[in-house]
């Protein structure tokens, strides 16, 4: 099978004449190929990013000035809710699964995912769910408007779209669980001989741990929303105090899911960054083992910090203290990661192609979000800041500048491998600098708004908050335009094959230093089938030798 290895260009299919490579729509709908499914995941999530982004622009347009201009308060709450849900479950999570699909088999030298058909099922299940979520805007009473956290008992007041939403979330959860099982099994059982766990690229490690998080918490979310459903329609009183239930119980169950969920959205990002920084520093990743342990520590700690979202619900003082200290501890393993990346860059031989720019941008801006997280973790300060725009600022710094920036970094880094085409460096830089600047224009002022006490999920606000809101709104439109630019000037040309042909190892110097890993051992674009029989690896498990 070494025929597919180590040659430039995309004529690797010749020796596969016997493969019935399906064409047309069948190729996608009936897909069992991890690369095709990965592509579908990525396109799906980008579509959802656009939809969620348009909803965000609705929010920002309304908040551009005080007073109601474009939407009524109910519709505003719908926008906020659906923006959160679509971004979290439709954009960020599937995007990382798309990366997992594309990269994990390539990185561990496997032919495909362990369960190729189930893999496609995980993808296609998202389609009815997404349709349902989007359709909920057109149901009587409009879309769910209880916030993405869907707190009871407000959810009991929602119209029929709430149930559509709940069922959609069930399906998305099933999709995530199946996807995670697939990833775990692929990583544990499909590695090429010689690819020991501690030689595996960090992206695989972070995804392995993320998949465990998903399996542990998605069913809990399913439980929470099932209780909501039965409270709504079948007379149960889980969240109804008149029958002995407790609305706060919903929050405990939700955040037991919700906090690990936010690490689900950042750990794979750490994996992507851990691949890019060594490549462009021309130096091995510093402290590989401690990176693995730090990732695992973050995951384990994430299960015991959930109530930092609930300081204002009136927990006993011991509860507040426990959750405060536990939350602050997460800064330690996260710090270890930041420091290891720095040490990787230190005394390297850095160049700053677009993927590296995004990775460095990620480090810088994500850390700001991390620090505001730490400030929120302090219970007394959180009493001031809970449910204000400070929180909104915090999580967009970690989610947009964290997860989304890392996703962009990954697209630029591996995009040439996927499509066989190089993007334009200049355009990539425009996209990066434009996004970075507009991102900060949008979300930095929100810290001030939050400190000054502007509550989140508000359709209208006191006049004193007007200027910062106006700035944020301008930034949001700018940021949105940059993403449109990204699609039309970078993604589309690459998908259409317009542009310079990508070499097999686009990020390596002539002497071979730079990006390492098995994904660079196959040509660009990666042929439809790779590693049909397990490759023989060198001692570091980064090169194919036979």
């Amino acid at each position: 099978m070494s025929a597919v290895l180590d040659h430039h260009g995309g004529h690797a299919h010749d020796d596969h004449a016997h493969d019935h490579h399906p064409t047309g729509w069948r190729r996608w709908v009936f897909a069992t190929n991890h690369k095709d499914i990965g592509t579908m995941y990525l396109l799906f999530s980008f579509t959802m990013l656009m939809i969620g982004g348009v909803l965000a622009l609705g929010i920002r347009a309304e908040l551009f000035q005080p007073g109601l201009q474009y939407v009524n308060p109910q519709l505003f709450n719908q926008l906020t809710t659906m923006h959160g849900l679509i971004m979290v479950f439709g954009a960020i999570m599937p995007a990382f699964v798309g990366f997992a699909n594309w990269m994990i088999p390539l990185q561990i030298g496997a032919a495909d995912m362990a369960f190729a058909r189930m893999n496609n099922l995980s993808f296609w299940l998202m389609i009815p769910a997404a349709l349902m979520l989007v359709a909920s805007f057109f149901m009587p009473g409009g879309a769910p408007a209880a916030g993405w956290t869907l707190y009871a008992p407000l959810t009991l007041q929602m119209g029929p779209s709430m149930d559509a939403g709940i069922f959609a979330m069930h399906i998305l959860g099933a999709s995530s669980i199946m996807g995670s099982i697939n990833i775990i099994v692929t990583i544990l059982n499909m590695r090429a001989p010689g690819m020991t766990l501690m030689k595996m690229p960090l992206f695989c490690w972070t995804w392995l741990i993320t998949a465990y998080l998903l399996i542990a918490v998605m069913p809990v979310l399913a439980g929470a929303i099932t209780m909501t459903l039965t409270d709504r329609h079948f007379g149960t009183s889980f969240f109804n105090p008149a029958g002995g239930g407790d609305p706060v119980m919903y929050q405990h169950i939700f955040w037991f899911f919700g906090h690990p969920e936010v690490y689900i959205m950042i750990l794979p990002a750490f994996g992507i960054v851990s691949a890019i920084i060594p490549a462009f520093s021309r130096k091995k990743l510093f402290g590989y083992a401690s990176m693995v342990y730090a990732t695992a520590s973050i995951a384990i700690l994430s299960f015991i910090v959930w109530a930092h979202h609930m300081y204002t619900t009136g927990m006993p003082v011991t509860g507040q203290l426990f959750f405060m200290y536990a939350t602050m501890l997460i800064a330690v393993p996260t710090g270890v990661k930041i420091f290891n990346w720095l040490a990787t860059m230190w005394k390297g031989e850095m160049t700053f192609e677009v993927p590296m720019l995004w990775a460095v941008g990620f480090l810088f801006v994500f850390s700001m979000g991390g620090f505001t997280g730490l400030i929120l973790a302090m219970a007394p300060i959180d009493i001031q800041l809970q449910d204000t725009y400070y929180v909104v600022a915090h999580f967009h710094y970690v989610l947009v500048a964290g997860s989304l920036f890392a996703l962009f970094a990954g697209v630029y880094y591996w995009g040439p491998k996927w499509t066989g085409v190089m993007f334009s460096e200049t355009r990539g830089k425009i996209h990066f600098w434009g996004s970075l600047i507009f991102f900060n224009i949008t979300f930095f002022p929100m810290h001030f708004l939050g400190l000054a006490g502007m509550p989140r999920r508000y359709a209208d606000y006191p006049m004193q908050f007007a200027d910062f809101n106006a700035i944020a709104s301008v930034g949001a439109f700018g940021f949105g335009l940059m993403q449109v630019y990204f699609f039309f000037f970078i993604v589309l040309p690459m998908m259409q094959g317009k542009g310079e042909k990508a070499p097999q190892r686009p990020w390596n110097d002539p002497d071979g230093r730079g990006a390492e890993g098995l994904e660079w051992e196959v040509p660009s674009p990666a042929p439809w089938h790779t590693f049909e029989t397990p490759p023989k690896l060198d001692a570091t498990a980064t090169k194919v030798v036979g």
Partner: protein, 361 residues
Amino acid sequence: QVNDLPGGPAVNQLNLHPPASQIAEQQQWLHWMMLIICLAIFVAVFGVMFYSILKHRKSVGHKAANFHESLTVEIAWTIVPFIIVIAMGAMATRTVVAQKDTSNADITVKATGYQWKWGYDYLKGEGEGIGFLSTLDNSHREMSDAGAPQGDDYLLKVDNPLVVPVDKKVRIVTTANDVIHAWMVPSLGVKQDAIPGFVRDTWFKANKTGDFYGQCAELCGKEHAYMPIHVKVVTQAEYTAWVDGKMKEMQALADDPSKVWELADLVARGEKVYQANCQACHQANGKGAGPIKALDGSALVLNDPAAQIQILLNGAANGAMPAWRQLSDTEIAAVITYTKNSWSNQTGKLVQPAEIVAARK
């Protein structure tokens, strides 16, 4: 043009409100401490990074070293941040404990969140027995709809502020009638969710007089942005005077639940209750909206006074229709009578307060 609102937000305010209680001062202090430490770490860490970016780049001819692990530094940069965060937590612990200590209050006030207003009941201490609702000034809601807001207290002006004396420990007991709300006043350093069916508490001791503003801080439905909180902190003498006045006013307004009403009077009274409490969901035309049931033409309203009383007292649909026990017997009787005699419902039936008294048992 807009100016700072003392006790509320200032124009382009960059930091927390000027504190008006000791807890708020401590929160402010902790925030500054965190900000400075985090900034210091940030500058140090990214100072190193940018130094490295500038010096260790290919374009300036730096050649890659090839070290890639060191147990010593890993241990160091685990232990040091560990100590830092524990120290941060330790600084906050005292305040956490103090915030939660609601014992020995001079005055206890229950704050009840309604969709979409606040109800205050003075439970203990001077002023015990006073109770009133506090609603956003209607002109502000109209300005909002018109998209043409004005004024320094836009969205913060209420009809009846909560009045409390300065330098007295005020315990606020929160609860809610329908969904979760949150009672927050930044200058006083309090924010406490108000949870239906449960009570929670928090406290403050204002150390200066003045007006302090806050807003509902938990998503509670469509008018979430329109249920502000206004705390008026006054001197002890002013407070005593206010209590006297309020008591007299309430006595004058109190209803006798054994009074037997005429239909027209009760409907007129009921209309006011309806507008204040029911209209937001059931609509002025009684038709409801979305999941909210219509009252106009409803069989239950037309025919079944007992069931209707039960629903008003206990709620329905798992709390989607909240319980309205806190209304007086007269008010409940009036509003039921109103629904039986409005829109197309012209039953001529009438429910007397005495029936509510009986049903409450």
